[in-house]
Symmetry: D3
């Protein structure tokens, strides 16, 4: 499947924290650069996300806020 | 200002495409890893985003969809 | 690619309206039931979305607001 | 109340899963076509969403990602 | 229509800026407190939003980022 | 930090409800006008949000849906 979202950052699953409804998944997308995602537990199960697995962080460009110091 | 969003990826502005209402800004957050954002033109002006400037891509963890091949 | 978003509604492209930056795409996901999406023009080009093509409307469950009369 | 969101898909509540903070509600918007929504428990209570009730899935067009096989 | 979104801030339309695809609408929700919204032009037309009209800014609680100085 | 989001409503924390994963925070942004936010518990801890503290509700203009009676 190819998606319309502009950002699809390839990474490796570093940490999976399973909650009652949601699961928090952290990907390392570059050395020392991490992206955290919260998805439903059922989605995490469906994608079989476990530490070390390769995955993509898909982010719409309109969901990216910019900030400067 | 400190924000509640989980992801604040530091990067350098690589490209700025100015539209009539929106502006598309691309940050390089690691060598070869880019994140594209679409913000309003007035926000881009306010933040004075120009190529080479340091900026952060702020993304809520609930806005990150995960995908696997 | 398999995604974590809960909703992936299969449909057929009914209408494509190309703007300067964004493109509006309408899918028919069931007889008489349509879903409209706004994506960037470059994404629409990448996915080669044209009338009659099969596509999916991918929607995170947290982006669905419910309403009652 | 009339809303600016482009998509308001009429359906029937098929399933309600009550969590501690959030409630997951599934609407059938066409025969065999379902949309899942996660809203806060207090919102679900306020709207009195129960199986069989008629409801709308309201979705902004900018929240719809498109995908092709 | 009653919606599941937690925030429905009542206000008065202060400014309407019409673009080619999108319209920017500013509501005053309290003396000196404004909320800006970007909706599609067709939605703005449908709701007949003009200066002085009463309207609501509907915002999901998960779309509100918090920040402190 | 200065952000690209159009809306940054200054307020005072009125209520904090701590869940297992998420925390619900209510700000009063004008007398009698409240905005509710749901953020992760770890973000709420990081920002040390407690009743009486000053904070901002940061909202992208594209996340504001408009409605009329």
């Amino acid at each position: 499947m190819q998606v319309s979202a502009r950002n699809a950052l390839k990474g490796t699953v570093k940490k999976v924290v399973v909650g009652s409804v949601n699961t928090e998944v952290t990907l390392e997308i570059a050395p020392g650069v991490e992206v955290t995602s919260i998805i439903t537990k059922s989605s995490a199960d469906k994608l079989q996300l476990t530490e070390g697995k390769e995955a993509y962080a898909v982010i719409k460009s309109s969901d990216v806020i910019l900030a400067v110091d």
